[in-house]
Amino acid sequence: MTDALIYLDYAATTPLDPAVREAMLPWLGTVDGYGNPASDHAPGRAARAAVEAARAEVAALIGAAAEEIVWTSGATEANNLAIKGALEFRGGDGAHVISSRIEHKAVLDTCRYLETRGVAVTYLEPDRDGLIRAGQVLDALRPSTVLVSLMWVNNETGVINPITELAPRLRERGVLFHVDAVQAAGKLPIDLAATPVDLLSLSAHKVYGPKGIGALFVRKRPRARLAPQMHGGGHEQGMRSGTLATHQIVGMGRAFALARKTMAADAERVTALRERLWQAMSVLPAIARNGSVGHLAPHVLNVSFAGAEGESLRARLSDLAVSSGSACSSATREPSYVLRALGRDDETAASSLRFSLGRWTTPEQVDRAAQRVIDEVSWLRQLAPDGGAA
């Protein structure tokens, strides 16, 4: 089975954990377990109880209270609700928002939309290692700043932003703090009881849960106030309407419960595999790791292979599921905007691959992946004029 596809794209999406699937199946009910959680009869009450148990599990992983969790259709909706909801509630005109150049598209596109509605947005630049310093954020504050939106872990480089350091400083200044924690949840300890973040976006399908479900943490004390973005029916304390998808929610709950149990061990194992992958590939000359090695989430390794054009490299590595940049923008085949923000030129950005590891990655897969990368990079460099040197 040496030709089997090696999946190293866990940061794009994760397979469902079999235990999560088992938990979901009773709520994909053909005979039972199909009630609408908003219904006031036995099937409805059963679904509601399952939804509330899942809410408590999601809250437990991040040190929140169950009533601070609002279900959404995923992280994109959670990011939209947090940012547009906060600005709409406070009134956007003349308001200032701080974000960064390396946020997920869901945050960047939402910020760009707000700019069309009279909101001023500062997009912070990371350094060459992908780091955004707390001081940079504080220096960008203005009297009109109402919201800071930063990701906890960058999806392309794996670099961790100084969220725990920043949160108390922003709280002191009365600035609302939204954190996209999609790549951090289940990877790093998050304790919102100790970290005064106001709004935090979560996704299930990056944590071995199902696609199509996410959540927004909305702090109760002090209360983060949002204008709803999906109207009708008044579900989720009026913040997000629509019939709750019981099976998806139960899946997210089980996935987060599993993550709470296995996070520490997973992090240690995955970090070791990531370094093994990097070490094995390091026999190649002229390759460079992207992202500050001292500030990395366990699961991401981003490497630039000078002289091996990115599209050809991916095409020749059809037996490896890896990303060149974020999956969400790779269809457009533009070099990663994140790597460009780190100061890489188009050429380097386009010849970079993101490897992301997870629960079922094995040492054998890592070794085989490294060998395949070495073979194909060498082949492409040999094909190129002057060995790929510009």
Binding site: L16, N36, T243, A331
Partner: protein, 374 residues
Amino acid sequence: MAVYFDHNATTPLDPRVLEAMTPYLTGPYGNPSSVHRFGRAARDAIEQARQQLADLVGCRAAEITWTSGGTESNNLAIKGATDPLAPGGVLYGATEHPAVMEAAESLTRRGWRVEPIAVDATGIVDWAAFERQLAAGGVRLVALMRANNETGVLQDVNRAAALGHAAGAMLHVDAVQAAGKIPLDFRALGADTMSLSAHKLYGPKGIGALIARNEIELAPQHHGGPQERGLRGGTENVAAIVGFGVAAELARVELEARAAHVLALRDRLEAGLAALPGVCIFGAGAPRLPNTLQFALEGFEGEALLMQLDRRGFGVSSGSACASGKGEPSHVLLAMGYPRDIAFGAIRVSFGQRNREEEVDRFLQALRELAGQR
């Protein structure tokens, strides 16, 4: 053995739909926006489902945008279609689902003039009043549901489309309750946008669709990512989309048989109810969905009756299964002119494929006993 008579709130999953979804709940099927092999398999499955849904509702596959459900579809249609326009007028049927009413009402903060369209005592649009509202000018959008979720009353959407278009307004149709229960043809209805939901037709919860004619410019409401041609960002819910596709195909093939089955049950219930004293059937004079019957029993408060029925194992509802308006009488019945005390007594029965005559008889028996205890 519990009896489930609340299919307008949600339906059980068809086992054939679950079977089609199962491969996508197993193994690493990938993020469909990723370009590697797993991602491509997911993308192909999504496009097949789009065609299956298009075949059910008489639209082109390219006109379908996946959403998280009927509520998001209605929000995207109403807010998305009005965002690119200078503020004007919006009209919506007085008996619309809260997702339509509240999305429309939210536009008042953006400077839009938002008004309900009155209905008559049977729940049908008051056409004369509607025409007067259109004649006042400036109406850019009309929202009218094909089938009401509480009473099952059907609206003449074609007529609304013709009148609205003549006045320069777009028409949005909430077809969440109609799809899979009665024939539905997007083109023939003359609608510009139309909302659908999977879990009302034996598909999974958490997935819906918005149909929009190419000419309609919609502003995205979920910003971020190129999914759904930039109109709706977010990683696609592959398993649910596949489930929706298969549910739509089954609904198309079995539509007539399904409608005949529930209509027989509905007629049996209606005949049985007629023998009870003080029964009021809402929307009785109007064309209705074959599976829906909303009624009140004189002297009964709805919540108390629901609780009694629930205790006896009958899952019915007072109306909408929404979280808002709990403890309030149905806005649908108030719009039809019923006084609050009658509206408070409303019980909605909505039948599904697995319901049987014997269940209807037991339900009638329970009602007779409860009426006798009064």
